[in-house]
Structures are given as C-alpha cells and as structure tokens.
C-alpha cells in the first residue's frame, strides 16, 4: 500500500494499464507537454512518448470522434477532457457513436474507450463550468458511468474501465484531486463496476452518495452520531451499472433513505436511485426518500451563493432530520 493523492492514483492506473497493454493511449488537451491541466498526467509524455500521450487542439468533438474510431478498430483510448463541462461539445460523438455502435453493428464493433475528466462544481468556476455531467451520461444505455470518491477506488475503477470493452465515463473531481488515501500497489487489484461500498455502517438512516458528497455524508454522519442517529453511508461509486442490491439491503435495515450528489434535482441519478428504493423497498420505508442535490439554479459565481446552491453536509443533515422525523 502507498499513500497517494487522488490525482496520483488516477495517473497510477493509467500508467499501469499502459505498461500492461500497448493498445492503451491517452489523448486530450494539454495532457502531454503541459503535464495535464490538473497535473494528472504529469511525467507520462516523458515515459510513453508522443505516440501514446497525444496533445490535441481545442476540438473536443474532433478528438473524441477520432478516439471512438480508434477504439472501433482495436485501440483502447483514454480521452481526457479538461473538465467534463467541455464534453458537451463532444456530446453527439458520445451519444450517437460511442454508445450506439455496438448495438447498431449487431456486435461486430465494440468501443473500448474511457472518457475521463474532473466533474461537478469546483470553486467559483462559473455557471458554464460547474456542471454535474453524470446525469446526462447515466441516462444513456450503452454507456457506463463511474464516480469514485477515494484514491483507492479511483485507481481500481479506472483500471477496470480501461479493460472494459464498452465506453466508460470516468468522473473525477477538482475538489478531490488533492485528497490522500491508501492505494494498493498491486497492478491486478481491480475494483469491479456495479458494486457499491458501505463506507459507514448505521441502523437509523441510509445516505446514498457518490464522489465529493461521500465525504460530506461522512461529515454529516459524525454530527448525527453525536445526536444518537447512526447513519449508514453508501458510496455507490458506479452510477451505471448501479448496485441496487447494496442500497436496498441497507434501506431494509434503516427504513429511511437520503440520496445525495451534485447535479440538479430534476431527473438524474438521484431520482433514479429514489425510484429504485421506492420500488424495491416500498414496504420497508418509514418516510419518503429525500434527495440532497444541487439547488435548481444555474451555478452562481458569487462565492456565498455558490456554497448555498451546491449540496453539502448541512443539506444532508436537513434531509436526514426530515426522514427521521426530527425537527
């Protein structure tokens, strides 16, 4: 085990997989000479050379399309967007080519590609650069969407994503890049997709979270524990495929659920999880499933308003108190 920062864990996964499989390459804006916009790919150009660490022009639609084509004919690209906000420019490529070609070709083609980038809000990056894009992509059959919260899961899940024969969207977070955690050095230790992790056990309420909100949920759980409420915190890690079994088992124990993540409440992954819970654990619910999401506004630039709009421990606490009928 080594203690790594999240960004180092992401790099470790890429390096190990590129060492293991010569078909894997990294492509994106500033991934090479600039060492990555967030220094995730630091040193990789030097290590693998310009044929496998490829700097592109500012043309997300172009390099996404090129990479999807490369995947169709046998390579295994890792596409880095500077942030997931800019994947919107490449949305048509991802929606209509990456997600569809396996099905439309009757299985003759596969698209083994990973799109990865920081996702969600950062600090005052403005309305157009603060999107939680997982909701858009998790909507689409044919795509897989991962959103790890810890360095260990970032490494283990990215390796799984690179080895998967289907397109995977891998959601990192600018606000998580610096967090540290123990990470396995074993190049064959993979974290499977579709498996949630119970990061804190409790009996009174289930908090289902992903990415940054896992940490906020754990903070909230500490406050609740002091009040005598034991929250179970589930890091879903994999938004599609979704590990409903772990979630349902927990709700059958606690009878109450709060779902929290970044992104607007209308539709989205939180709504999907709430639907599964009400459908599969209906008889076990003692309260409606509530969500602690981003408020339904374009992100304000003003720092205080921004903090008001994005979800955090305070909003989780508010929802937990509601589902446990506290006031």
């Amino acid at each position: 085990m080594t203690v790594l920062r999240y960004r180092e864990a992401v790099k470790a996964a890429m390096v190990e997989e590129m060492e293991r499989d010569s078909r894997v390459f990294l492509i994106g804006e500033e991934v090479g000479h600039y060492q990555g916009a967030y220094k995730v790919s630091e040193g990789m150009l030097e290590r693998f050379g310009e044929r496998r660490v490829i700097d592109t022009p500012i043309t997300e639609s172009g390099f996404s399309g090129v990479s999807i084509g490369a995947a169709m004919v046998g390579l295994r690209p890792i596409v880095e967007f500077m942030t997931f906000n800019f994947s919107a420019v490449a949305f048509d490529q991802i929606l209509n080519n990456a997600a569809k070609l396996r099905q439309m070709s009757g299985g003759q083609l596969t698209v083994p590609i990973v799109f990865r980038a920081p996702n969600g809000s950062a600090k005052q990056v403005g309305s157009q650069h603060s999107h939680a894009m997982e909701h858009f992509y998790a909507h689409i059959p044919g795509l897989k969407v991962l959103a790890p919260a810890t360095p260990a899961d970032a490494k283990g899940l990215l390796k799984t994503a690179i080895r998967d024969d289907n397109p995977v969207l891998f959601m990192e977070s600018e606000t998580l890049y610096n967090i540290k955690g123990e990470v396995s050095d074993d190049p064959e230790l993979l974290v499977p997709m579709g498996l949630a992790s119970v990061v804190r056990e409790g009996k009174d309420v289930t908090i289902v979270a992903w990415s940054r909100l896992v940490h906020a949920a754990l903070d909230a759980a500490k406050v609740l524990a002091a009040e005598g409420i034991e929250a179970e915190v589930i890091d879903v890690r994999s938004l599609r495929p979704l590990d409903e079994e772990t979630i349902i088992k927990s709700v059958q124990k606690t009878h109450r659920a709060v779902v929290t993540g970044e992104g607007w409440p209308y539709g989205g992954v939180g709504a999907e999880i709430a639907d599964r819970i009400q459908r599969l654990a209906f008889d076990d619910l003692d309260a409606p499933v509530l969500r602690a999401m981003t408020l339904d506004f374009p992100m304000p630039y003003n720092a205080k308003l921004e903090q008001h709009v994005i979800p955090g421990a305070a909003r989780i606490l508010e929802k937990v108190r509601a589902v446990t009928y506290q006031r």
Binding site: K203, K253, D286
Partner: protein, 458 residues
C-alpha cells in the same frame, strides 16, 4: 402550489408553541418576512415571520392552540387554490388539546409533565415524542376548543395514513392501525408511533427476535406458557409504570356509613322496576353510578382535586370528566363520562352501561377513553373491602371504591347492624396536598351520607 406552514423552531429548546395571536387572517396577502403570528414558546413570545409570499388560505391552528414543532398551522398559496389535500378542506373534528387518540387502551396521551416515553426501537427521537402531550399550556375548558394539530386528522376518505413500513409491521403482527395517533406529517403513522404497541424488533431490522424469547425457565424446570403482550397490555405496562415512577402518590382513606346510600338505591331501583312498562327491562342504578355523581359534585366543590400537573402550571379543569375503570378481557380501559356534574344519576347510569358494554366489545373510540379529569375504580363487586389505585395520568387523583360491608356499627349507645363503605383517594402530591384531598373526601362523605343531595345535583 399551496404549501402547509408548520410550527417553526423559534427557540433552541422549544418543542411546541402556542399561537398567541395571528397577525394575518384568512384571505390576507402575505409577503416574504411579513409577521404572520406571535408564538409563545418555552422561552418567550416570538415572532413568526413568513419565508414565502402568497395568500393565507387557511388557518389550521387558531390563536390559543398549542402546536408541536413541525405540525401544520396554516396553508399558504394562491387565491382559490384547492387545498383539500392539505387538510384545508374541512376542519378535523374539534378535539381538546391532548386528545391524540392514543392507544386503543386510550388513556389520554402521555402526561404533560412526564418525560416522553423513550422511543424503544425507533431511531433516536429525542425531540418529538410519539403520543404527544399537547395539553401543557392551554387551559382546559369545558367546551372542546379548537383542533389541535397533533390529533390524528382523518383524511376526507377516512383512510389511515401510515408509512409502508408501518403497514408491513401491522400486517406481520396483525395490528389494527385505527386509533393509532400518527406523529408524522399530516398525522402519518410512522414506525415509532408503534413503540410500545409492537414487539421489540420494530425498526432495528436486525433479525435478533429470538434473543427476546431467551430463557423462559431455568433448566430442568417446566417452561411457563408464553402469552405475547397485547397492545393493551403494553400500554397498561408503560403508562402505569410511568405513573408510579413519576407521580408522587399518597393515599387517604375514609370509611363511611353506607346505609343511607343503600336505602336510596333500593328505593330508586324499586321505583324504576314498578315504573317500567310491562315486558321491558327496568333501568337500574348502581352504587358506582351514585358515587360517580357524588364525586362530580364533590369535584365542583373542591376543584383543586379536578386538576393536573404540568411543568409550567397546574391546570384546574373547568369540566368534570370522570374516567370509570372497566375490566375487559385483555386488561382494563377507562371510558369517560363527560360533564358528569351536569348529568343526572339515571343519565350517568345509562351512559356507563353503554360505555362498559362497548368497552367489552372493543367498540369504544379512542376519544371516548381519553381526557378524563378524575378516575373512579371500583372492586366492590369482587369482594374487595378497600384498596389503593394507581393514578391515571395526567389526572391528579383516583378514587378506589371497595364493597359495601355489612357489619355491626355503633349507633348512639347501641351496636346495631349497619353498612360501611371504604374509599381510598390516591393523590398526585404535586397537585393535591393532604388537606385538599381530605376536604374532597369530607365533601364526598357528606354527600354519600346524605344522598338526596346527590339527586339534587349538589
């Protein structure tokens, strides 16, 4: 869309508030930060200002009402909006404070002064206790005052609102949810409302049920028959334990000359028998009916015994509602004869007969067993000479009545055959001091030994 305005938390320790005055009336436009009402909390009178704008469509809790945190007080929305789904259609039936329809056993909800029953299995709910003691601050009045939010609010369809988990528990345990007071939003029955009514593994899903049935007999000895606790048995256990643990009881006993009462009763029943139409059963009057009326008159004379303790004040009731303990198959219930001081003995007799009959048939409504102000328990028919009863919270006293004893008594200078009756008053010393209890018993003795006063209504 219309929204329900709830009682806000206006002080850090507040658990309920009393609306002192509404500053908006139904139909008024409300702006953000407008003063809606003033609320008396445990600390002070606070301003309740609006977070939203709209029109005040309905006031659910009028001035004077005591409302628990989070319970609805009003509905805000657009003029003309349909608010029937929010409870704005028709007012729930008028309900005195505290009449939260408790358990089917149905003494009134928890005593205001007693600590809230700790949630047994539900997640920690330190703030909102299940069958809410609502009555604390509101002065009890004879006429049922405005609806109180914590009372179960039957939906217009009469449907019981309960969480899916509660419904599952009810199915699994064969419980009836009718009459269970819901402490959730809009009276929803939530898991903790079943605390004390259901067996242990209620909300902690850990299937550790067998642990509860652990060893029932020492090894080598025959095991006893295990009789699961009924809801009524659990409620009796909980409430009477709570009474004995939190209410400082003391006891005063009198032994009265029961001859006059006996003769009056004989005469009344003989008259009723001869007056009854042929073939019809005659009405009858029991000792207990006469004593109920006598107590009602005595309570009017000594209102300090018709009172209850709360943390803030002693509530001296302006109504005389006498709970009459009735033994039923599973335990006992205490139906209430309302306004017994204003009713005639025959009326009381008929009412007690009806209540007791329906109690044994389990047909009593929760509100018929809640909110008494004084209790009578009579074991005379079982041959008991005298005993002391446990106070039925939040009432301040209970009278335990024994049997009429035939025995030699001294009259003048002679020993003659006579009749005696012993009665013991259990008093909550926080409300009723010794001298006050004695004054009440003196009044009661005087009435019973000159019982035509009972018929004259005091």
């Amino acid at each position: 869309m219309a929204k329900v305005l709830e009682m806000p938390k206006l002080s850090p320790t507040m658990e309920e508030g009393q609306i002192s005055v509404w500053h908006k009336k139904e139909g008024d436009a409300v702006g953000v930060d407008d003063l809606l009402a003033e609320v008396e909390t445990d600390k002070a009178t606070m301003e309740y200002r609006s977070f939203d704008k709209g029109t005040l469509l309905k006031i659910l809790s009028p001035a004077g009402a005591v409302v628990k945190l989070g319970q609805p007080v009003a509905i805000l929305g657009n003029p003309g909006e349909d608010i029937s789904a929010l409870g704005g259609g028709q007012r729930p039936p008028p309900t005195p404070p505290g009449l939260s329809g408790a358990a089917p056993v149905a003494e009134p909800a928890a005593p205001a002064a007693a600590p809230a029953a700790p949630p047994v299995a539900a997640p920690p709910a330190p703030v909102v206790a299940p069958p809410a003691p609502v009555a604390t601050a509101a002065a009890p009045v004879a006429a049922p005052p405005a609806p109180v939010a914590a009372a179960p609010t039957p939906s217009p369809t009469g449907r019981v609102k309960a969480s899916p988990y509660v419904r599952k528990l009810a199915r699994d345990r064969d419980l009836s949810l009718a009459g269970v007071a819901g402490s959730g939003p809009n009276g929803r029955i939530i898991a903790r409302d079943l605390d004390g009514l259901v067996a242990a593994p209620a909300t902690s899903a850990a299937p550790s049920a067998p642990a509860a049935k652990a060893p029932v007999a020492p090894a080598g000895l025959e095991a006893p028959e295990v009789r699961p606790l009924s809801m009524m048995r659990k409620a009796i256990a909980r409430r009477l334990t709570e009474s004995k643990q939190t209410v400082p009881h003391f006891y005063l006993t009198i032994d009265i000359d029961a001859d006059p009462l006996h003769h009056l009763r004989e005469q009344i029943n003989a008259d009723l028998a001869s007056a009854a139409p042929a073939g019809q059963p005659a009405a009858k009057v029991s000792f207990n009916d006469l004593l109920t009326k006598a107590c009602a008159i005595a309570l009017v004379r000594v209102p300090e015994c018709n009172a209850q303790f709360t943390a803030d004040a002693i509530l001296v009731h302006r109504r005389v509602d006498i709970s009459v303990a009735v033994a039923v198959a599973e335990g006992l219930v205490t139906p209430v004869v309302r306004d017994a001081d204003t009713k005639g003995v025959l009326e009381i007799a008929a009412e007690v007969r009806d209540l007791a009959g329906r109690a044994k048939a389990k047909k009593l409504k929760p509100e018929e067993m809640a909110n008494g102000t004084f209790s009578i328990s009579n074991l005379g028919m079982y041959g008991i000479d005298s005993f002391a009863a446990v106070i039925n919270p939040p009432e301040g006293a209970i009278l335990a009545v024994g049997q009429v004893r035939r025995e030699p008594v001294v009259k003048g200078e002679a020993v003659v055959p006579g009749r005696r009756l012993a009665m013991t008053l259990s008093c909550d010393h926080r409300v009723v001091d010794g001298a006050v209890g004695a004054t009440f018993l003196r009044a009661l003795r005087q009435l019973c030994e000159h019982p035509t006063q009972i018929l004259l209504g005091g």
